[in-house]
Point group: C2
């Protein structure tokens, strides 16, 4: 064993800068090392009540910071100040505990923070991530014990394509000690700008479930996160061709909901150790996915005992609600931000549910059509499921 | 069902621009839509022999393009030209078929291409991705049938932490028709700058295996991609604390290799339907992972029948090779680029293997210590495994 030390030592010499590789193609696998010995710049840096952002930009004329804690998180943002070393800096009051996306605007061009490896993908945009610790975000950090997150493919004859979905199985699911145990399933749907990775990236769904289960606040459950855009095989990051099935056309939405209930649910119930009964099935979704949630509950009233439309784009008639009530519902959790542009829609749905005497929760939060709300909602309703 | 159309129509009105949401926090889930109706800019755009890159940057002074097809892929790059509409553009001769990373440099600051959703993560860097089609890249695109990619956690008493690894199970593995079938396993290790996502992101391992298996060129196999940095629980993107176990210290490397062979291999053999015998185990790794591959083959000569060090940082003594030969090897596939800074190390290893009469392949390619080579090597040796 001793002899192979010499090569390790040689590689160590390379990565510690004795041999300079900077600027060479060779550097590809060595990108995590600081060759130059220059001052190590940190961004973002949270010091309890103050947070500092930094960007090395020697030749830029104007650098602004924009972030989700601002009234307008997309711009124009707040100017940063250039130091003598070419490092632009801005210190702000640390915003209240939450996950915020932010960007720099360098001479008018929006970019991520190159010093921050924590990134969320919101549709086609990559956004740098700032987590401010606190009670609100406690369950958004990694738990001690982790479930498994899998990207699986299934065939959809209804949509005519193979499609990808994300499956979270809780800690212990794969243990041989649990091999006879069956689990309930939450079908968790994204909005029109998202895909099958939205809830694990922007939504922190795996972290939230890991934490809730670890604390004994939620029942161990499987979470299935499909792709709700009927023309997509998978997230755009895979570069696959897409069909013309626009989600805004009712017929396509109906086809997608049929695929969800007639293809995805059976696929999961065949491939996982799940209890295949309404009391072990929940459905929740945001925005377009809230519309899918409502539509699924009305088209298949016997299928789900737990129904959670979040900032939902969808309605129900009194007759439909009456039929749903008859089929039986254990939890109807309706949630919306009071400044959401779909708030009135939720108020209307609440009125119909009340009028028809269908027991439900109308959970109102501050804010609008944003992920900070959807994370909060998941963290709030997941403990109510399957109990 | 009819009534809920109205809300869909309303949301449709929003996203098609009748109601402008641009610049409002509400826009978060609607980020994929082009509200402004402005000219749709495309980047990158491959037109057979020419490829064009574009960036909207009205106020920038200098914008350069840098890419992996250049002699120096990290800078300073080639100047782009500003059009009257503020869109900077550069058309180049399409480079030969390969996956290239590239960036823009806007007034001295390196950034990704905001119009390109295809991104690879190389350690702590996010890089825009250009795939040029051709024979070389055929297996880097999505196949028709897909295996499953899972992120799982296991406990490592040797390293004292829970750790994450990536597991690829081939198409059909989960089918009930295959429930009695056992699969061989390839343990595929990354380099010092990588983590458990390096081979699926930079390395296109899932696509390569999907394609090779679909074409009948490779045997259906499980691929296990652990995290080879002994102090890391998981990729830095998860923000977890790291211990001080520097991989450059031989003792830590030895501990990691022990963990691999005494913890990960048993974990996989307990949790997956695998044939637990040397002829169904392969090990391959690049750079530091090549060192791990060599060390594992020497510390546990009975464990793997297939051994593939790639651009490897590792050596073996004549006595060690003699012991390995005695234990039996079905394939020893040594690969290195002829301009790799570790090429001489591979030449030395080749000489020892030859001297000891251990049958092996020494696969030499053009180029250096780069992912284009490691993808090529995987695509080349995977068909030779388990046959």
């Amino acid at each position: 064993m001793k002899k192979s030390l010499s090569v390790i030592a040689m590689l160590a010499a390379v990565v510690t800068g004795v041999v300079s590789l900077e600027g060479r193609a060779e550097a590809q696998e060595l990108s995590n090392f600081n060759f130059s010995g220059a001052r190590k710049i940190v961004s973002p840096e949270i010091n309890s009540d103050k947070t500092t952002f930094r960007l090395q930009a020697n030749y830029a004329t104007i650098v602004n910071l924009v972030g989700a804690w601002m009234d307008n998180p997309w711009g124009p943002g707040v100017p940063m100040t250039k130091g003598n070393d070419g490092v632009w800096e801005l210190t702000i009051d640390t915003p209240s505990p939450e996950i915020y996306f932010y960007s720099f605007i360098v001479d008018g061009v929006v970019m991520g923070d190159p010093l921050n490896v924590m990134v969320q993908r919101d549709g086609t945009r990559y956004l740098s991530m700032l987590i401010v610790p606190g009670e609100r975000t406690e369950n958004y950090y990694e738990a001690k014990r982790h479930g498994t997150v899998s990207y699986r493919w299934y065939n959809s004859p209804i949509l005519g394509i193979d499609r990808r979905l994300t499956v979270y199985t809780p800690y212990g699911y794969e243990d041989s000690a649990n091999r006879n145990r069956k689990y309930p399933v939450l079908y968790l749907l994204h909005g029109a700008g998202g895909d099958e990775e939205a809830w694990t990236s922007m939504g922190r769904a795996a972290q939230i479930l890991d934490n809730l289960i670890e604390k004994g606040q939620a029942v161990p459950m499987i979470v299935v996160m499909p792709n709700g855009n009927p023309g997509q095989m998978a997230a755009k990051t895979l570069g696959l061709p897409e069909s013309e099935l626009d989600w805004r056309v009712l017929e396509n939405r109906t086809r997608y909901v049929s695929s969800l209930c007639e293809e995805i649910v059976p696929f999961i119930e065949k491939n996982y150790r799940v209890a295949a009964k309404p009391s072990s099935r929940a459905i929740a979704g945001l925005s377009m996915g809230g519309g899918h949630t409502i539509a699924a509950s009305l088209m298949y009233p016997e299928m789900f005992d737990y129904i959670c439309p979040l900032s939902a784009a969808g309605e129900a008639t009194p007759e439909q609600v009456a039929a749903l009530k008859k089929a039986g519902v254990k939890l109807y959790f309706l949630a919306c931000g009071t400044t959401d542009f779909l708030y009135d829609t939720s108020v209307k749905l609440d009125a119909v549910l009340t009028e028809q005497g269908l027991d439900h929760v109308f959970y109102k939060s501050d804010g609008g059509h944003v992920w900070s709300n959807w994370r909060l909602y998941l963290n709030t309703f997941a403990p109510m499921l399957f109990k």
